[in-house]
Symmetry: none
Subunit: 210 residues, 4 copies
DNA sequence: CGATAAGCGAGACGGTACGTCAAGTCTTATA
DNA sequence: TATAAGACTTGACGTACCGTCTCGCTTATCG
C-alpha cells in the first residue's frame, strides 16, 4: 500500500524472501490446505505481524509465491503453427506443474468468495500461459493457416482447458504425444471427410424442429 | 457400514433427509468453504453426533448432497453424432451448474489430500456426465463417423474439459452456440485444407532435429 | 448460566478445581496484571475453551478464585462492642491479606469499565467483611452503646476504609494495636473535652458567612 | 536524564505540552486502561519515539499528566481546627475528582509491580493532599485542641482513607455534610459517655484472658 | 417381557488457527 | 542530537470449528 516514499524504517526485504521461501517449502511439504500463517512465520523466523503487513491473507501470500514461481513466460516463435502450439501448451503444463497443480486448484477454490481476489488469481496464474497460446494462434491466423471465421477464444479455451483438466482435476500428467494429438485433432478435426457437413445440416433441421 | 443387522434402535431416516436439506441450503447461502457441520446440525435440528454417525466428515456429507442433486444422467440417443454430442455436453453443463460450480471445485480441492476420497469424488461427480460423452462418441465411432485411430479418451477430455474450464475456473456460462462451435471444431478441425499435413511434416523434422 | 439441568455431557468439576488452583498459583507468582488465560490453561492442563466456557473473562475467573479464598465470613459475637469491632476489623484485614491486597486492587481497577462486573466485585469481595462490621455496630446500637443519631454507614466506612487504605494503597500491614487505637478514637473521639462543641459553633458561623 | 547540556537539536517543548494534552483528553474519553501510547502519539501528531524519549512508559506519562492536573495544593489556615480539617478534606476530594478517580486507582494498580514507580506515585499523587491534612492536625495539636497521646498518623489515615475509599472504591461522591460528620465523629467520638472507658476495661480483661 | 443394543440430543472437551492489538525497540532519512 | 514515520518482535487476546467424548434418554429387536 504505502510505498514509504519518505520517512519510516524501510521494510526488510530479506523478510519478504524468507517468508516466501518458507511458504514454498510448506506448500510442498503440507500442501495449501494445511499451510498456516503461524507455521510460515515460525519457520521463516519472522513474526505474524510482519507477514500480515505485507499480505492481507493466506491467499495473497500463496499467490505471491506462485507468481514468483512462474517467472517470465515467453511465447515460442518458431514460425511453425503446430510446433508453436505444442510448445505453448507444454510450457503451460510446465508452469502449472511447477506451481503445484494441487496448490493451484486449492488456492483457486479458496478465492471464489472474493471477486477481487479471483480476478487477481486469474490474471496472475491463468492469464500468462493462456496469452502465450493466444498469441501463437493469432500468428497462425495472420500467417493464413486458419480457416476464416475461426473463434480464437474458443480455440484457446479448448486447448488450455485440456491441460487444466488433466493437471488440476485428474492429476494425470500431460505427455507430449497427447498434446501433439490434441493440437492435431483441433487443427484437423476428427470427423471423417464429409461427416461434419452432413451432421451440420441435421443439427439445423433438429434445432429447427425443436 | 453397519446395516443394523440386529438389535438397537434403527436410524431415523428423516434425519438423513433433514441434514441433506440443510446442507443444500447452506451450500447455496454460504458456499462450501463456510459450511460448518455445526451450522448444518443446528439448522437441521439434529445433533452433530447424528451427522458424524452417517458421514465421516464434511466432504462426504457434501458429496452425498451432490450425488442427490445429480440424480440420474442418461446419455442422449438421437442417432445424429453432432446432435448427441452437443446434447451430452449441455447435459454436462447443466449437471455442474445444478451442483454449483463453486461448490464442486471447492470440494474437489478439499478432497485432494485423501486419495480414497478423491476417487469417490471422481466416480460420483465427474464420471457420470463424462461417461455420457464417451458413450456418444463410441456410438459415433461404431457408426463409422470418426476417422480411424482417433483417441477417444483424448476427445472426451477435450470436450469435457472445455465445460469444466468455463464453469469451474472462469465461472462463465457455457452457451449452446459455443458448445456447437466447439463440437464442430473438434469434429472438423480448424486448419485450412492442407495445412495440417504440411505442418505435421515440419513437426517431425523439428522434433527429429531437437 | 446453563446449570445443565438435563442433557449434555456434564462439566468435569475437576477442571473447575484445576483451573482455580492454577489461577491461584499464578496470581501469587506473577500477580494479576501478568496473569494470562493462556498460562492458566497450560498450567491446569486444560484447554482455553474449557475456561471461557465457565468464566467469560479474566476478571470473572479471578473473582471466582477470590470468592473461593474468602470462604465464609462470620461476624464475632462476644457481647463487648469494642472487642467485636476490633475482631471484625482484624477479620477484615485477614480476608484482604489472604486474597492478596495487590490482586484485589488490580482486579478492582480492571472492573471499573463494566458496571455489572463492578457490582459483582463489590458484592463478592468488599461486602462480606463490611457487613460483619455493620452487624457489630448495629448490635452496639441496639445495646445502647452508641449516641443517638450516629450515622452507621459513615462509621462503617470510616473503619473499613482505614483497613483498605493501609492494605490496598500503602501496602502496609495493619497491626492489632492500630486497629484498637482506631476503634478507640472513633468511639471516644480525639478532641479534648469541650473543643468539639466550640468549633462546631465556629463551623456554623464560618459556613453561614461563606 | 540527559538535560541536553550541549550539542544536538534541542527538545521541542511544544511536544511535551501536546503529548500531555492528548493524554489528558484520551484519559477522559477512554480511561486509563484503554489509553494506548500509539493513540496518544497519533492524536498529538507526534512520534512514539518522542514520547518514549521523555517518559519511560505509560505509567510515567499518565503520572506526569496527573501531576500537572494537581497543581499546587495549599493547606487552609483559618485558625479553626474543625473548619480547617473539613476544608482540607474537601480539597482532598476535589483533587482526586479532578484527576479522575478511576484513572487514579487504575494507575495505582498498574504501578504495584515496580516499587520505584509506586513510591513516585505515592509521593506525587497521595502525599500532597495527605500532607495538608497532617499540617492541619499538627496545628490543632499545637493549639492544644487535641487530647494528649493522639496518634496523628492514624488520625490522618482515618480521615484520608475515608475520602479515598468513597471516591476510588465505591465511586460514590463525598458530600460536605458527610465530611463534616466524619470529622465530628473522629473529634468527638461516637460512643455514649462512659462507654469507652467501660469497654476499654473489658478489652483488657478479654485480651488478658485470651 | 425384560435384556440388549443402537440411535439420539445436548453439550463438554482438547485442539489448532484465526486475525487483531498494543507494547516497547530499532532503523532510516531529514532537520 | 531530535524528530517523524513506520518496521519489527513479542505475546496474548477472544472466537470459531474441528472431531471425539460422555451422559441420560428413547426405541427397537432378541432371547
Amino acid at each position: 500500500m504505502t510505498t514509504g516514499l519518505r520517512g519510516g524504517r524501510p521494510r526488510d526485504s530479506s523478510i519478504d524472501r524468507a517468508v516466501l521461501d518458507s511458504t514454498s517449502e510448506l506448500l510442498d511439504e503440507l500442501g495449501y490446505p494445511e499451510l498456516a500463517i503461524e507455521h510460515v512465520a515460525r519457520r521463516a523466523g519472522v513474526s505474524k505481524t510482519a507477514i500480515y503487513r505485507r499480505w492481507p491473507g493466506r491467499q495473497q501470500l500463496v499467490l505471491a509465491e506462485l507468481q514468483r514461481r512462474m517467472g517470465r513466460v515467453v511465447p515460442p516463435q518458431t514460425g511453425c503453427t503446430r510446433c508453436d502450439l505444442v510448445e505453448s501448451l507444454e510450457l503451460f503444463a510446465r508452469v502449472l506443474t511447477c506451481m503445484g497443480a494441487e496448490t493451484v486448484s486449492a488456492l483457486l477454490a479458496d478465492c471464489t468468495d472474493d471477486p477481487e481476489l479471483r480476478r487477481t488469481f486469474m490474471t496472475t496464474v491463468f492469464e500468462p500461459p493462456r496469452a502465450a497460446v493466444r498469441v501463437t494462434l493469432e500468428q497462425a491466423r495472420d500467417r493464413g493457416d486458419l480457416r476464416d471465421g475461426v473463434d480464437l477464444t474458443l480455440a484457446v479455451d479448448t486447448l488450455a482447458s485440456l491441460v487444466h483438466y488433466r493437471l488440476l482435476f485428474r492429476h494425470a500428467p500431460v505427455t507430449e504425444p497427447e498434446i501433439d494429438a490434441a493440437v492435431g485433432a483441433l487443427l484437423g478435426g476428427i470427423a471423417r471427410d464429409g461427416v461434419v457437413e452432413a451432421v451440420s445440416a441435421a443439427v439445423h433441421a433438429h434445432s429447427g424442429a425443436g
